[in-house]
């Protein structure tokens, strides 16, 4: 982990010379300010399955500021994946407006949306979606193939990004030669390589064990610290706890939208974890004090108790 941190620091330093968007983001690192990156008004999405209409989204209003770290939560069927696909310009809303960096994406055609996806959005999938025949560098450089900005020096850019996610020593490896965590890092590097305005992650730790998940979440935290705007879809309170803001969906509507520190459900969850930790300490004093900031570990430990 230590070599990764150092490379991250090195990169943060370098970021001062990077494009304006990054340095802007750096200025509002801890306090998101300025115009919203994402501005959504009255978004609805209706699927037609046979003769039946399914309302996946029923009027969503959402603003996301620059350098925010937002977790979108909800049970399956709540519409969070649909919202994510629309945020990622992979899908289009039935009704409503979605402006990304002031650009009205709801008015765009397939070709313009492809350009937006290429330049403004980095998408991280649950199942990584790496191309098996390509090595790490080629996988990361893939989006640059479709961008006029990086036609020259795409490989150099891909290498830099791989170093940024801590994979400087695995660049020539193919996906099947990498562990799950390393694959997700490659996928994150691919999402970051085009310096996107927003990084979207759909259950990025869904296919990973808890230790690897923590590493990935730590990587997201550091990217956020460097100024990256991040939106993550998850159903784990634990993962959501790292975000600065939690948006909860149910039946295609936003039912709560609070900073993490004020989110009642999350605070209740933390409290329960803390209580469990206390009980645990009471029952077996020999157990080392459990870190209350890792509630999942606490609960897992409690479940192992006789």
């Amino acid at each position: 982990m230590s070599h990764q941190s150092s490379s991250l620091n090195g990169d943060t330093h370098r970021a001062s010379a990077a494009p304006a968007r990054e340095s802007d983001a750096g200025a509002g690192r801890t306090n998101p300010t300025g115009k919203p990156v994402i501005r959504i008004r009255g978004l609805t999405k209706v699927y037609r399955i046979g003769t039946e209409k399914v309302h996946a989204l029923r009027g969503i209003d959402l603003d996301v500021m620059r350098n925010e770290y937002v977790a979108i939560m909800g049970a399956s069927g709540s519409g969070k994946s649909t919202l994510m696909n629309i945020l990622g310009c992979l899908d289009r809303a039935t009704k409503g407006a979605y402006e990304l960096n002031g650009k009205p994406t709801h008015k765009m055609g397939a070709t313009s949306l492809a350009k937006v996806r290429n330049e403004e959005i980095g998408f991280v999938f649950q199942s990584f979606e790496l191309l098996p025949r390509l090595n790490a560098i080629e996988n990361v450089a893939m989006p640059l193939l479709y961008s006029p900005r990086y036609w020259w020096g795409a490989t150099r850019r891909a290498k830099q990004t791989l170093q940024r996610v801590g994979l400087g020593d695995r660049m020539k490896h193919r996906p099947n030669q990498l562990s799950g965590g390393q694959r997700q890092r490659v996928a994150i590097a691919r999402a970051l390589v085009g310096t996107p305005s927003i990084l979207l992650a759909d259950e990025p730790t869904g296919n990973l064990d808890s230790k690897t998940s923590e590493e990935i979440i730590e990587l997201f935290r550091q990217l956020h610290a460097e100024g990256q705007t991040i939106i993550i879809v998850t159903h784990e309170e634990d993962i959501a706890g790292y975000a600065g803001r939690i948006v909860r969906l149910r039946d295609g509507m936003i039912v709560s939208d609070h900073p993490t520190s004020e989110d009642p459900i999350h605070q209740a969850y933390l409290q329960r974890a803390a209580e469990t930790a206390a009980t645990l300490a009471h029952h077996s004093p020999t157990t080392p004090a459990v870190d209350a900031t890792a509630p999942a570990a606490v609960i897992a430990a409690a479940e192992e108790m006789p």
């Binding site: 350009k115 989006p143 193939l145």
Partner: protein, 410 residues
């Protein structure tokens, strides 16, 4: 510039894809490989054969015209051979009336006995010709002199012979000045003419023994000869004009009425050549049909494999779209892949065809076989065209995929 860079990357991508499925790609392009190889080989072979045949014809003389008596078909009872025969008078007047002809000679063929010293041959072929014969047939003398117009006018008892005749009558190599008996008459050998081997195509096997005498001399022995005329046009293209002129002249000379058919024949070597060229052109059309069928079959193979490729790589297409590949780029990617596949097949076919042509050159009659540039261009063009045509449908299918649907594809 941008489009070149894009094309380059797309071609590299397509080559990688093809390389990843080498064996499958080879089987797929087999139709195109065979088609192109067949075209190249057969075009080269036809070309070689044509060259050979034309060369053979040219050895006979491209601007020669034969004029001979011919019984009109289905009217055998109306004319006797006596009426049909070409007369010396007709031959004499022809050159003045037919401006397309540069020279002509009547040829009177007869067979008599021949004797030199003790060697007696009951049947020898003798041809009576005019001096122009030397030029028309391009046969000069090796020793002595040619038949002259004085010989012709004075009906001199002279002859010229070829080396085969020298051998047959066991004469000295230097036999000019010696005497030969033909039909009992003494003829002085005044020259030795070079032997011209005629191509086997025209029935000229081994060179035969030949004896030539002046036409006038021959006429004095055969007052009503059966003869034909060999004429030469001023240039090879004039054979149609020459035919018309000779026809007009002879019809008038023979007093044929407009409803009566020709009682003579005029054949030009050019006519035979153009007939052969027609056959060759017909062969080309036939070939084009074979090419079209093989490329159609090859194209369907390509379309099939591209459809398989699209459905196999649906997730990849979804991913590429998700990271920002425009539909047009996906279309281009699959089109380029199909065209690259076809062009590779075409190149392999060309290679095979070339090898076949090189092997073909060991055969004497096809030694002139070469692959013409247009055949190469045609092969490459048709290969690329097949790729474009049959790759279009799968490529459109890929370009229209919905990214989310594609990413969910198993």
């Amino acid at each position: 510039m941008i489009i070149f860079r894009l094309l380059y990357q797309t071609v590299v991508l397509a080559l990688g894809q093809i390389w990843a499925n080498k064996f499958r790609a080879l089987l797929t392009t087999l139709g195109i490989i065979i088609g192109v190889a067949a075209v190249v080989t057969v075009v080269a072979a036809t070309g070689g054969l044509e060259k050979f045949v034309l060369k053979e014809f040219a050895s006979v003389g491209a601007n020669k015209v034969w004029i001979f008596p011919r019984m009109p078909p289905k009217q055998r009872d109306r004319y006797s051979w006596r009426q049909l025969r070409i007369t010396p008078k007709e031959a004499d007047g022809m050159l003045d009336r037919c401006p397309s002809l540069s020279r002509l000679t009547p040829v009177l063929e007869m067979s008599t006995s021949g004797q030199v010293g003790d060697i007696y041959k009951p049947v020898v072929g003798v041809q009576a010709v005019r001096p122009a014969w030397h030029d028309i047939e391009e046969r000069s003398v090796l020793q002595g002199r040619q038949i002259s117009s004085i010989d012709d006018e004075q009906r001199s008892p002279v002859c010229i012979i070829n080396d085969k005749a020298i051998a047959e009558f066991q004469l000295d190599t230097n036999c000019v000045g010696q005497t030969m008996l033909l039909g009992g008459r003494a003829f002085k050998i005044v020259g030795v003419v070079e032997t011209k081997t005629v191509s086997p195509m025209f029935g000229g096997d081994e060179a035969r023994s030949e004896i030539f005498i002046p036409f006038g001399t021959g006429l004095s022995q055969r007052p009503e000869p059966r003869m034909y005329i060999i004429a030469q046009t001023k240039s090879p293209e004039l054979h149609e004009d020459a035919k018309a002129e000779v026809g007009f002249y002879l019809r008038r000379a023979r007093g044929l009425k407009p409803d009566e058919p020709d009682t003579f024949g005029v054949e030009a070597i050019e006519q035979i050549i153009s007939g052969f060229k027609k056959v060759a052109a017909g062969l080309s059309v036939f070939l084009a049909g074979i090419v079209a069928i093989s490329l159609l079959v090859g194209g369907i193979g390509i379309m099939n494999i591209m459809l398989v490729s699209v459905s196999e790589r649906t997730r990849e297409i979804g991913l590429r779209k998700a990271v920002g590949a425009k539909p047009a780029i996906i279309l281009l990617q699959f089109l380029v892949e199909a065209v690259t596949l076809c062009l590779l097949g075409g190149a392999i076919g060309l290679l095979i065809g070339y090898s076949a042509v090189i092997a073909m050159k060991f055969s004497a009659s096809l030694s002139g076989a070469t692959v013409p540039m247009w055949a190469i261009g045609l092969s490459v063009g048709f290969s690329a065209g097949t790729g474009l045509l049959f790759g279009m449908f799968p490529a459109i299918k890929a370009a229209r995929l919905d990214p989310i649907e594609a990413l969910r594809h198993e």
